[in-house]
């Protein structure tokens, strides 16, 4: 159904429930919807599962959400960074659960969720600890591991511009996980730099069509 153009990040994240799975875009800070994450901290939802490539930097954004004890589990590819001390501390203390997923599988599993694929046979991780306990199959002489979709209740995405139909364009490598996450969540909430009128985005260049977008806020 139609997109809602919100007046504030607080309005955009309203109603996120305790226990939700929240997909958070960005690769490090590129494409990270920082203002939506800050608004989620204020909003108060807890017991969250966060799916994101990384597990927070420094003391702000995702790291701040973790520091407040609001995240039960992180599904990510690369939690360990030079400034990921908040996650590191929680993990070492056993206060946060981690599902480590190869980056390409993270993207493809969310793509599958958005595309109605029930599961897929993937060559990544075969023979490694990250495939342990998963079904494998040989197809045409190559071994694959069966991977399942990752669905979100909510996706928080950072994009460049939206029009009033919710069509999105991104900018440079800040595109990263945004387009797949937008397809994989029940409710997709997007922070953009600018909302433009309908007709101002070239239809050839739209990366995320408005059908995937529920709420937009310009910050």
């Amino acid at each position: 159904m139609s997109v809602t153009i919100c007046e504030s990040a607080a309005e955009a994240v309203a109603g996120i429930s305790d226990g939700s799975t929240v997909l958070v875009g960005g690769f490090g800070l590129a494409g990270m919807p920082v203002r939506l994450v800050d608004a989620l901290i204020d909003q108060g939802a807890t017991d969250l599962t966060v799916v994101s490539n990384n597990a927070g930097n420094g003391d702000t954004g995702l790291a701040a959400l973790l520091a407040k004890g609001r995240v039960r589990k992180v599904i990510c590819s690369f939690p360990r960074q030079s400034d990921s001390y908040v996650f590191d501390g929680l993990y070492r203390d056993g206060r946060i659960e981690l599902e480590l997923v190869p980056q390409g599988n993270l993207a493809e599993r969310m793509r599958a969720a958005g595309a109605g694929i029930g599961a897929f046979f993937c060559p990544t991780g075969v023979g490694t600890p990250l495939a342990e306990g998963k079904e494998t199959r040989e197809i045409d002489g190559r071994t694959y591991v069966l991977e399942h979709p990752i669905k979100g209740d909510v996706a928080l995405v950072g994009a460049h511009r939206a029009d009033r139909m919710g069509n999105l364009v991104y900018r440079k490598t800040a595109r990263n996980f945004g387009p797949v996450m937008a397809t994989a969540a029940t409710t997709t909430i997007v922070q953009v730099r600018e909302v433009v009128e309908i007709g101002e985005l070239d239809p050839e260049t739209v990366v995320t069509p408005g059908i995937y977008v529920d709420r937009v806020v310009a910050v």
Partner: protein, 212 residues
């Protein structure tokens, strides 16, 4: 049997049940007519499976562009706010249940919501499925628009489809010239009747009906 709705009236009746702001795919053939009855203010966005959202009306005259066609390969126009994507993305959108409503034609629909619309099963027929099977299972709600009886008088709303299936238990509503039905539950519910009566329908159909 008195006359029910004509094609245009059927299309208007379907259009009435499409929610404001819905993303909708209209199958080729009669369902395409539904577009003519959608209120411009309703903000309904049309999807065409060959790769476009916010598809416009049929192109006329100089508007015709061979690069811009709908699923029936009819030239259409590009309204403001459109978006293009490739076939895999288009069917991912459909298969992933992002469309609110899909309207399909059919040879038969069963009481349980099965649909048969791609193949008569005739041995010399050349089968062609296109996007029908993807559409049948892809939208949140699947509406069928068809005449209630075939030209030979046999009902097209049936206990079980005898033609090869397109999709199983996926149709929610059937819009016909004589009545609108809810299917897919324990009973078939008659929601609306046109130019006939509930009792007449009960007598002519092999499926158990309930008044809506």
């Amino acid at each position: 049997m008195s006359a029910g709705l004509d094609k245009g009236e059927m299309a208007a009746r379907v259009a009435r049940d499409i929610p404001h702001g819905a993303y909708v795919n209209l199958g080729i053939g009669q369902p395409t007519l539904v577009a003519d009855h959608l209120d411009a203010d309703a903000g309904v966005v049309l999807h065409t499976e060959n790769g476009m959202l916010n598809m416009g009306r049929a192109a006329v005259g100089d508007e015709v562009d061979a690069d811009l066609v709908n699923a029936g390969k009819i030239p259409v126009v590009e309204p403001p706010g459109a978006a293009y994507f490739h076939s895999a993305d288009s069917f991912a959108m459909m298969r992933g249940s992002h469309l609110d409503v899909c309207v399909l034609g059919a040879f038969q629909v069963s009481a349980g919501g099965d649909i048969a619309n791609w193949h008569t099963g005739a041995p010399d027929a050349i089968p062609a499925v296109g996007g029908a099977m993807d559409l049948a299972i892809g939208a949140k709600q699947v509406f069928v628009m068809m005449t209630l009886f075939a030209k030979d008088g046999t009902p097209k709303l049936v206990p079980d489809c005898t033609y090869p299936l397109t999709g199983v238990a996926c149709v929610s509503r059937v819009y016909t010239d004589l009545a609108v039905f809810e299917v897919g539950g324990d009973e078939v519910v008659v929601v609306d009747v046109f130019g006939t009566t509930y009792d007449e329908l009960s007598a002519r159909l092999d499926v158990p009906l309930r008044r809506g």
